[in-house]
């Protein structure tokens, strides 16, 4: 597998005058053989980044590199493959699952070989190869999602992008897909950009976590470190919001006086991102709470902090650079 690098990637929807910059100058590396988890609230630009990586969206700025080479989308299967969120719409209902997978097998394969390859892939995702003739409607959501994974693998990708692949599934079967992701990573060394809004899920599959807010990566580091010691206030808020079934019933936050304005703050509008630090209207340690932190309103923080956290008040640290650069 290979390394996927986003280098200053900017993606805009709409025209120049009226439009949204959904992804704004993102630098992010998915190292060879690693699973990078991308978290962030809806609308933060995760799916946009994913679709750009597989060439479904044009870049407005920057470039995407695969092993240092700019990514090209010629004919034939693309080197970066994607698994979509909703397995009910990502498989053609009129095609057998075998045909769907076979379609992604590189052309020029003899049809007997192709059939064999489909059987091998079904086996790989723990489905009975004898069911290649089944239609998606006959499969459960979890089974469909594994077919979608098999299709992505059929194209012999160098990197796989998985966009919220378990959020349309019941928790009772989401585990089958997550276990599969882990096994593929371990056995095949698949490089993967794994997008999810569920931190517990990302924690389970990803070796690194990148946190996205309003089109920017605001923190990025090894999973264990980011979760144990989050540097950006947004990451901390995300972690605090994770429901814990083991935790006793919590008291309502009304008791907490300071961030009342913040608790009620609207999710920011991507059409008009706030100036300075984009998180400042919601930040519990930002200018709304600490009067002396005016810099947050005016100056955009750099990433030169621990975990590349984009916050003026995060402790300084090595930016997350890779030896390969």
């Amino acid at each position: 597998m290979s390394e996927l690098r986003f280098d200053g990637v900017t993606i805009r929807y709409g025209n120049r005058r009226r439009g949204t910059t959904a992804v704004d100058g993102v630098d992010l590396t998915v190292p060879d053989g690693a699973v990078v988890g991308l978290v962030g609230e809806s609308g933060s630009g995760k799916s946009t980044l994913a679709r750009a990586a597989v060439g479904l969206l044009p870049l407005t700025g920057g470039q995407i590199l695969l092993d240092g080479q700019p990514l090209r989308h010629g004919s034939g299967p693309r080197p970066v493959q994607m698994v979509f969120q909703d397995p009910y719409s990502s498989l053609d209902p009129r095609m057998t699952i075998g045909d769907s997978i076979g379609e992604a097998v590189p052309r020029g394969t003899r049809s007997a070989d192709r059939r064999q390859e489909v059987a091998r892939l079904l086996e790989l995702v723990e489905l009975d190869p004898a069911r290649a003739g089944a239609y998606p409607a006959q499969l459960s959501g979890g089974q469909r999602q594994r077919v979608a994974v098999a299709r992505a693998l059929a194209a012999r990708p160098q990197v796989i992008v998985a966009d919220e692949i378990t959020s349309a599934l019941d928790v009772s079967i989401q585990g089958t897909v997550l276990n599969l992701v882990r096994r593929l990573q371990r056995e095949l060394g698949t490089s993967m950009l794994f997008i999810s809004h569920n931190l517990a899920v990302v924690r389970y599959v990803a070796s690194e976590i990148a946190v996205m807010y309003l089109g920017r990566i605001v923190e990025h580091g090894p999973t264990a470190e980011v979760l144990a010691d989050p540097q950006h206030p947004y990451t901390r808020d995300l972690l605090a919001a994770v429901p814990e079934s083991t935790r006793a019933r919590s008291a309502p936050v009304t008791a907490d006086p300071a961030p009342a304005a913040i608790a009620a703050a609207e999710p920011a509008d991507p059409h008009a991102p706030p100036p300075g630090c984009r998180y400042h209207p919601r930040c519990p340690v930002g200018p709304l709470v600490h009067g002396d932190r005016e810099i947050c309103r005016t100056t955009e923080p750099t990433a030169e902090h621990r975990h590349a956290a984009a916050c003026h008040f995060a402790p300084a640290g090595r930016p997350l650079l890779r030896v390969a650069d």
Binding site: S42, V54, L56, S75, G76, P77, R78, Q81, M82, F84, Q85, Y88, S89, S90, D92, P93, R94, M95, T96, E103, A104, E126, A130, R131, G133, Y135, A137, Q138, L139, S140, G142, A148, R151, A155, D170, V171, S172, I173, Q174, G175, T176, L178, R183, L199, A200, V201, R203, Y204, L227, D237, L238, A240, A241, P243, E244, S245, T254, A261, A264, P267
Partner: protein, 673 residues
Amino acid sequence: MTSPTTDSVEGAPAVPRRRSAVRARWLAVLRTPVGAGAGLLLALVLLLAVFAPLLWSDRAETFDTGSVLQGASADHWVGTDNLGRDLFYRVLVATRLSIGLALMATSIAVVIGLVLGTAPLLLGRRAGRLVTAGVNIAVAFPGLLLALFFAVVFGVGMTGAVLAIGFAGAPAFARLTHTLAAGIAERDFVAAARIAGVGRTRLLLRHVLPNIGEPLVVNATIGAGGALLAFAGLSFLGLGVQAPSYDWGRLLQDGLSGIYIHPEAALAPGVAIVVAGLAFNLFGEAVAKGIGLTATVGGGFGPAAGRSPDRVSAAPTDDGRPATDPGRAEGRPVLDVQDLSVSFPGPNGPVRPVRGVSFRIGRGEAVGVVGESGSGKSLTALAIARLVERPGVVDAGRLEFMGTDVLAGSDRSHRRLLGTAFAMVFQDPMTSFNPTRRIGRQLAEVAEQHQGMNRRQAFGRAVDRLRSVRVPAAERRAHQYPHEFSGGMRQRAMIGMGLMGEPSLIVADEPTTALDVTVQRQVLDLLESVRAADDVALLLISHDVAVVGQVCDRVLVMYAGRVVEDLPAAELRTGARHPYTRALVATVPDMHVDLDQPLPTIPGRPVDPASQPPGCAYAPRCPLASARCVEEDPALADDGAGRRVACWHAGEIGTDTDVPGAAPVALTSGERA
């Protein structure tokens, strides 16, 4: 590994069933009265078109100078024309030409329409836009005008008319194709195929066209009816078929000259045109309706409802005493549900997705309902709110809200109750708000209708309520439209709407599923504080055990339309006795799951409500299942301490387990067929 029973149900040979599903749908259309009538008529017309000229052209061509321009008689049923030819046979024989030309024109329209309609997909963005714009302009012209225009361009005569009508029909078809194709092209499976390197042409042929085929065929059928009429029109105007050939339009024109002497000569071809036109039209409409009713365009998504005969088993009933916290639930419960069922008619008898649910909610109590999708959670909530729509049928031994029988009251009195003492919050509040009206007014309306406030007072209360659910700048926000609210804010406004009255119960169905964790947290906290402040009871439905465990006092676990366990929320992790509850809890990954272990899963899939097994519905997936489980459905039994559980082996621990509560689940991701 996994239990063999679960997947074998769906592991049957695939291809035949898929094909037969399509065929079954068309056959079902023929079984409706309109469909059957139209189908018969259409078959008749087509048979005539094929055989009439073979059988009767002699009689239709025979001159009989002795009987020119006669009226109806025993010899000539609708009389003769100016050369003495028998008009009845001429009308029959003309069927072939009339129908044939109409079909030819339709084919031209369909082919051109397909080419133009799919061109935007093939050509890429810029050229595609140009084509679409052209089509849109052409569609704006009335069809007949276009046909006349082309008739003049192509010249008088049969070929000209076919081309004219074909060309005139093309734009509408192009637009239809384009709309349908664009809808399919947006779907993820097309994106996936593109990423897999499938070329545009193949994309069109393999993915797009098969998925829009059915509606196109239907519309072509309807279009053929239109073409028939248009053709008759052109022939009638003398622009179409020329003598000595004749179609119905031509016969109509001939007959019209003598309409005062013997109107039959004009009536007969006229009737033929109308009947044949109707046959095409009605058949197309019937099929369209049949398909629309039974399937989404594109076919068979989601769980197929109703396959095998339903054995409506007499579900064991029980009394719905609350499991815990008797102090709080003392006195009259806010909600008392006994043996609640919801059923829908199915192809093989009624299907019962909710089968005998019983529970009570005390004042200020928070009760959660968890279970996989399809277990009947939402339907239970809808039944309580009397929102189950026809043909669904709600049945209950008792369904009392604040001591009032909800099943008995009129719709009107119930709506009043709903407006004041009962609040419902849905997963997607966008569908519950009217998009064209301001939020504040929609809230105010509740108070105007049910509390007799005037406009001003009501609006004042709306702002106050929005403030109470912590909508910032409530005054200004009240003047905004629903789409100007973010998802979390809309959800708060929805809760605010429920608080316009003085609710004793809030039913929230997956209120945070569509929200981000941080926003979810806020909404849950809000529900919690509303409950604490006003002693409002809460029924919180969620597939997320963690959410329910956090907010609720007590949890009802539903499986296959029944409550299988009722226990204190605090005991979910440690005290669950039903194997399903344990498995459900164990599958939720939290921030502490062991990274070195595979995640637990529940093998197999939930039962299809249309084919409930006679015994315990969980048996095919249950690690503790015994022979008795397969035969007898366990009743929901009270243990005396208020906890309820429906399981023959409640509390037992599987042999291959070491972690109590978390163990009886498959530890591999295998879900093999």
